[in-house]
């Protein structure tokens, strides 16, 4: 429905569940104005109920024939968890420090629970943002047609002028990644950080990721790593493709988990703890082929041969991981005579020149690829 489509790939083999993305997103967008309970980006433990609780059973999406399915709206207390705080004021009266409301669930309630039996228990993390689907369930469900997909990049947005807070979009999204803002009585959702993207910066969740598990780029950019992971090597798969919305966030499925132990606590060779059925449920039948490709390429690399796929997954450089505007920034840099990774200066200057940020002169800033020479010794003049 859009001319181009921005997409994100996340490598689940590298996600450590540190929630840096969650906090980056929260700080940027959802710590205020009725959005406090929302996590546009969350990281959840699988197998698990996730956030909101049991979202995979909450309906929405499309059936086999392409018709929108009914769904439910998760409850603030039972499924999302209230954005709680402590009774700090009462401490002065000798009270215990307690939450102001009773808690039933939260964005990380079943952290690390997973499945299996000790010592063969297992779990892995899935970070989730809005999938910016090609056939969005939220968009289809809105009787007001208040949700739209941007022509230029396929980002799915809510027109807050038109939204009347009916919440059918929440029932319609099978990922439950659109939220009701009770303060303004309108729906809100992950905006793929479009104000950043328009300036050539990846979404905050991707930029801040300490494990460097996220790639961002246009799906039709054949030089881009997103394209290569999704289309060329087919190792990045959409989550729950059976929901029928054609998601544009793709996951490299978990290839590694510790082997099982036998009764004598000896590892069983070639055993996997994560059941393939669960991976199939999440990523469809294609997961077998994707894991096979990953395994083969890894072996190839282990033999000392070249593997473009492994090089991509190592995530050497943000420059290659985030390609938002094809070569726009490289071209701009060339005009200014900047070479190599120096083009990143332009992006960082823009980044640092936010409305409320002082302009920072980036003199000797380079990326991690090259460590700086020590600054020249200057005469120490005091101050």
């Amino acid at each position: 429905m859009s001319k181009r489509q921005l997409a994100m790939v996340m490598d689940l083999n590298k996600c450590i569940g540190c929630q840096t993305c969650t906090v980056a997103c929260k700080t940027q967008w959802t710590n205020r104005n009725g959005r406090e309970y929302m996590y546009w980006n969350n990281v959840e433990t699988h197998p698990g109920a996730g956030y909101p609780r049991n979202w995979m059973e909450a309906g929405g999406g499309f059936d086999q024939d392409g018709n929108l399915k009914d769904g439910i709206i998760p409850d603030m207390v039972l499924d999302y968890g209230v954005p709680w705080d402590y009774n700090h004021d009462e401490l002065f009266n000798g009270s215990l420090l307690q939450t102001k409301s009773d808690l039933e669930w939260g964005p990380n309630w079943d952290e690390d629970v997973g499945g299996g039996e000790y010592p063969n228990s297992y779990f892995f993390y899935i970070p989730r943002i809005c999938n910016h689907c090609s056939n969005p369930g939220c968009l289809a469900a809105c009787p007001r047609e208040a949700i739209f997909k941007r022509e230029q990049d396929g980002i799915v947005l809510v027109d807050l002028e038109r939204c009347q807070g009916y919440r059918y979009c929440i029932a319609g999204c099978p990922y439950k990644k659109i939220y009701f803002n009770p303060k303004i009585s309108k729906s809100e959702k992950c905006i793929f950080c479009f104000p950043r993207v328009e300036k050539g910066l990846p979404p905050a969740c991707a930029h801040q990721c300490v494990g460097r598990i996220r790639w961002v780029g246009f799906l039709d950019d054949e030089e881009g790593q997103v394209y290569k992971l999704v289309h060329k090597y087919k190792v990045a798969l959409p989550l729950r493709p059976d929901f029928g919305t054609q998601p544009n966030v793709y996951y490299v499925p978990p290839l590694f988990d510790p082997p099982k132990f036998d009764d004598n606590m000896a590892p069983i060779e070639n055993s996997r703890r994560i059941p393939m059925e669960y991976l199939e449920l999440l990523f469809g039948k294609e997961v077998h082929q994707a894991l096979e490709t990953l395994r083969k390429e890894m072996e190839k690399r282990a033999r000392g041969e070249e593997s473009e796929l492994m090089d991509i997954l190592i995530a050497y450089s943000h420059r290659d991981m985030f390609r938002l505007d094809n070569n726009y920034y490289q071209q701009e840099a060339a005009k200014k005579g900047l070479k190599g990774s120096e083009f990143f200066k332009i992006i960082d200057q823009r980044y640092l020149q936010g409305a409320n940020t002082q302009r920072v002169e980036i003199k000797d800033y380079t990326f991690h690829e090259k460590v700086l020479p020590l600054p020249q010794k200057e005469k120490h003049g005091g101050h």
Binding site: Y86, Q98, G114, L374
Partner: protein
Amino acid sequence: MEDFDKLYEEDTFKEVMGMSKEQYKKKVEEMLAKSEGDKGIGHGKSYWKDVQTFLLFADARFRRNKGSTYKKAFLEKAKFIAYVDFRMSDFANYADILLPAKSHYEVWDLRTNPGYHRFANLAHPPTNLKPVGEAKSEWEICTMIVEKIQEIAMKKYKETGDKKYIKIPDPELSKTGYRDLDTLVDEYTINGQLRDDRDAVEIALENTDQFKPNTIESMFKRGGYLTLNEKAGKSSPLYPDKPYNAFENNLFLYERFETLSGRITYYVDDDLWIQEGANVPTAKEPIRPRKFPFVLMTPHARWSIHSTYKTSTLLLRLQRGKPYVMINPEIAKKKGIKDGDEIRVYNTLGEFYAMAKIYPSCPKDAILLEHGWEPFFYKGRKGHNEVVASPLNLLELSDGWGHLKFGGNWDGNQHAYETSVDIEKV
């Protein structure tokens, strides 16, 4: 010691430690007695025996120090407590005076950890930030306290002419044997140069060789950090084009390690260590009582730094809001416990209450509880330290041998997996 007696079984203890409980206690007393009056330098340990007035900074002490009797003993001994923190910690409730501090992100500071990397970051208050209430930086608070002490001392001295008000004897820790309260402010602030947090950063930049050449302005210009110069490499040279790797000096350039042998040392021939069977690293059975089925393990909390930031709105919603204990599903089923139930954790020493979290990765003979929960999170203010006795590890008491030197921060370590408990649904 009472707790110790209550918790441990004589036979288990003897089997593991090679000595009876009585012998152990005697040994500890003997070692501590050695330290009397030796300023903590020779054998044995000095400890804060006679201190009655406390000025404590950000120390959620009753979470940190184990054993519930510690709390009782501390509060009996402390005649006056002033407490400085940016948050109401559990301990703040016991203070006579609370001094509100600015938090880490409201003050000027230099952050670095040479040994891991070669950068120092400049922390500074955001432009136009208004302090919360009367909050001040810790530097300012200390300057004000020092000024007040001098003022009171001088007033007394002028009224009485008695020098005892300005010359306070301190034979142990002062070079001159006295604390001079008439020049206290000048001494503390280096003649007025060092009065607040920003002064501290400037002085550090001017006087620390490893930071040179830098000023606040130059760091600002660069985006808020500086690169440590070549003098900062303590155990490795600093190269302009390579990351910092610890111990290159010793491993590749063949400098001596700071051990007796000059090498990485696994063997310790201290008498006590030999006696304890620890002269080479040796795994030993834990001393915990066998009559309770579950080891209590308290791994590092994920969403706080110990107790700090447990209540940060950004992080708090990533946990469950109150202490929760992770239990193996099979055990939970046997005990009729469901996820979210309140459970009682107990042994002969005491008990505490927490929420159950059913957790397949928990062994069947242990329960897991993230540390960092302060007593005020628990029912009846009874925290997880209620069920531990925390006997000192005897090895901690050996000192003055080779590289076994312990500095002022000595905080005697205890035994690993030292306690066991049982659980029940409330």
